[in-house]
Symmetry: C2
Subunit: 206 residues, 2 copies
Amino acid sequence: MKDEKKRGRPRAFDAKAALGKARDVFWDRGFAATSLDNLSAATNLNRPSLYGAFGDKEDLYLDTLEGYRQDGMDVLTEALDPSLPLRDNIARVYAGALAIYLHGETAARGCLLIGTASVEAVQHERVREVLGRSLNDFDDEIEKRMRLGVERGELPQSADPQMLARLASAVMHSLAVRARAGDSRETLEAIARSGVELICGSAGHA
Amino acid sequence: MKDEKKRGRPRAFDAKAALGKARDVFWDRGFAATSLDNLSAATNLNRPSLYGAFGDKEDLYLDTLEGYRQDGMDVLTEALDPSLPLRDNIARVYAGALAIYLHGETAARGCLLIGTASVEAVQHERVREVLGRSLNDFDDEIEKRMRLGVERGELPQSADPQMLARLASAVMHSLAVRARAGDSRETLEAIARSGVELICGSAGHA
DNA sequence: CATATTTTGTACCGTTTCGCATTAAATTCT
DNA sequence: AGAATTTAATGCGAAACGGTACAAAATATG
């Protein structure tokens, strides 16, 4: 299903790469402040090509969000490798997040979803849907690990896996916001460490 | 310094009220997606009047952010009334935040700063400055209460007030994001309760 | 009452915006 | 080779954008 030769003129660009370039622009400027000219310049595609390949600006934006969400889930599940101790898992989740959040040029970009989709979420229902679903998927993935932690005795039997997961996510949400607000890497790493400590608690010593 | 009769034609509007209306528009749409026409319609002021009273769009936006920050600090200090137990303080902080965050019409608006200033923070240095300063002020105010909590024995001597404060803030940041993402009031209140539990910990029983 | 000063309202300017119409180019199918 | 089909590139066009010039209105001062 990959080389089914299509009929007309073949594309002269890699749609995946173009989507990545578009993502960077949205990441820096947000959806509303990004113009098609910005996207056109960054992708080296004319507006009609952009339009033909991805639809209008909102379609393209939603595509980048979905891709980001998918990539994020991949990083997350890798960080949550169940052969490692829970404490290491959560630390790796935060480290992975910070590696992404602190990648800015002028200023750190934080999280694409939290940093740029949140604004549009109120007015654009589709954006709100993607954002909500992404946050939930993250919570759910962490919750699975927490549940395992209870079974294994890494967490006390009384622990509430769902709530612990949501609070673990909360620390990450805060890292995303603070990164975009200009906090230093040192500060963010300190918060991440304290977060691990608080979430995994003294129970982690076992 | 209030009734110094100014020379020319007097203003036919209340600048404070207009600023409040403008804030609502920015809150729903964000800075970039808000047009001067939107602001003009909401405030019942013509664009020249807006410009004359508040400067350009960015100036006006920064004004609304500063006002919001100030109001938020007032709510915060009131919630942190030191005559109450620490646990109640933090619960009140979250309750106060949720009362603000869930006030939307179509969808919940979350926090003006986290929800709309975060996007602009990367490109607009002045916005990033206000956002960063606001988050820090919040952290500092909570930290003072945490420090008092250690002195009083509400928290263990080993507790790190600064980090506890930052994590308490983190839960609030998450509430802000999740509100805008469409989470239900019940979910948010559950997260707030769990947050109080985790932050104030078993130490709160004392 | 005349003058100075500030606000108000209309109208406008130049730019930028998104999206598309149209034509040229590249490839497959017959 | 020629028809059909898809993409590429130029450029257009109507609307919205932020901001302001300008004249009328409203007040204080002399």
